[in-house]
Symmetry: C2
Subunit: 187 residues, 2 copies
DNA sequence: CCATCTTTGCTAATGTTATTAGCTGCTCGG
DNA sequence: CCGAGCAGCTAATAACATTAGCAAAGATGG
């Protein structure tokens, strides 16, 4: 039998495709194996188990998101940077709602996962430091920003907002709330 | 054999207990049946399937949350009401993190579920109408409030915030962001 | 108080999935 | 060209959801 030339990355590729096409609940090893053109047990040569596939998908999403946010924030600062960050975040979620929903928010002690989460958080912290925030205030600001952005993302990705109109405007208000609550130029 | 005297409500009670004790992922019919002191297939006399159990748990959580929010907002208005609402929301999540995480945000066409979601949303809308908001502005404000509150709730319930200190203060900042973005007394 | 009818709970059986064990034949380094 | 290791396979086990069909508990009507 010709080898399929699988690799951990290829398994994650297949997993992400399954999620995109059929939603996070459809992420089973059977579905991934099928997508990869391989029998289910063969996956175990490349990943430890289903939990690891989920973890790797989360890492993948975090990395993609990190790249988008880094690019969006580049060359901007303060409210301008926050706006760009928040819009880039939502743009990613709108493009890949299922993928975002498949991301596990639970802190994962596994090194790769922890590092990916740190890098993602790092972008947010860097932007917020542009307001002169540090120490405890920086933590509070980062948590608030994450909450707003993630809350909207989860609700939108889950179709939790009844009326599909003006989501753009709703998000604009949320952005204004966040920037309005961060230290102003006079503070 | 003596009958167990089960009922749909009793099944949901068992399901909620399972979730509280072992997390949303542990919500299986086997676990619920075990908790209820009954064989797994017996549950099908009271609920259609696992999906319905999940739906009923969601409805239960929404109802509990609705009661809390209604009570919190009673006799208050504007920023005072929003603060009370947001604090009551978080208090519930802190008390029952797994239960909150088990709640499905996906809009459910099933009448009971839709009604529960409507009642919950109704409280938020009522509070926001106190700002003189209506029509489209009301929708934007409600979405922003929901995003903030739900985002913080999800992250906290999932243990997504690294440092467990000052969560109270972080939430205070988020509350300030929300109230600051709603029409002020002069608007 | 008995006969019956409905309902509730049970056991048995099927299908899906995750996971492990053990086999076989590519494929590459020597 | 050859052996070692690795990738993929089939077979087997266990947990779970779900369905079918049986049996007894409890209500109901005479």
């Amino acid at each position: 039998m010709p080898r399929a030339g699988l690799s951990p990355d290829a398994v994650v590729d297949a997993a992400v495709t399954v999620v995109d096409e059929a939603g996070p609940a459809a992420l089973t090893l059977a579905a991934v194996a099928n997508r990869a053109g391989v029998a289910t047990p063969s996956l175990y040569k490349h990943v430890r188990n289903l939990a690891e596939v989920r973890r790797l998908v989360t890492v993948r999403v975090m990395e993609e998101l990190t790249d988008r946010l880094r690019e969006a924030a580049l060359g901007r600062s303060r409210d301008d940077a926050v706006r760009a960050l928040m819009r880039a975040y939502r743009a990613y979620v709108v493009e890949h709602p299922a993928r975002y929903a498949a991301m596990d928010q639970r802190p994962d002690p596994e090194p790769r996962a922890a590092a990916a989460a740190d890098r993602l958080l790092g972008i947010i912290l860097a932007v917020l430091r542009g307001y002169g925030l540090d120490g405890e205030d920086l933590v509070h600001a980062a948590r608030s920003l994450r909450s707003a952005v993630h809350g909207f993302a989860v609700l939108e990705a889950a179709g939790g907002f009844g009326l599909p109109e003006d989501l753009e405007k709703s998000y604009g208000l949320l952005i204004a709330m966040v920037t309005g609550g961060l230290p102003g130029p006079t503070a």
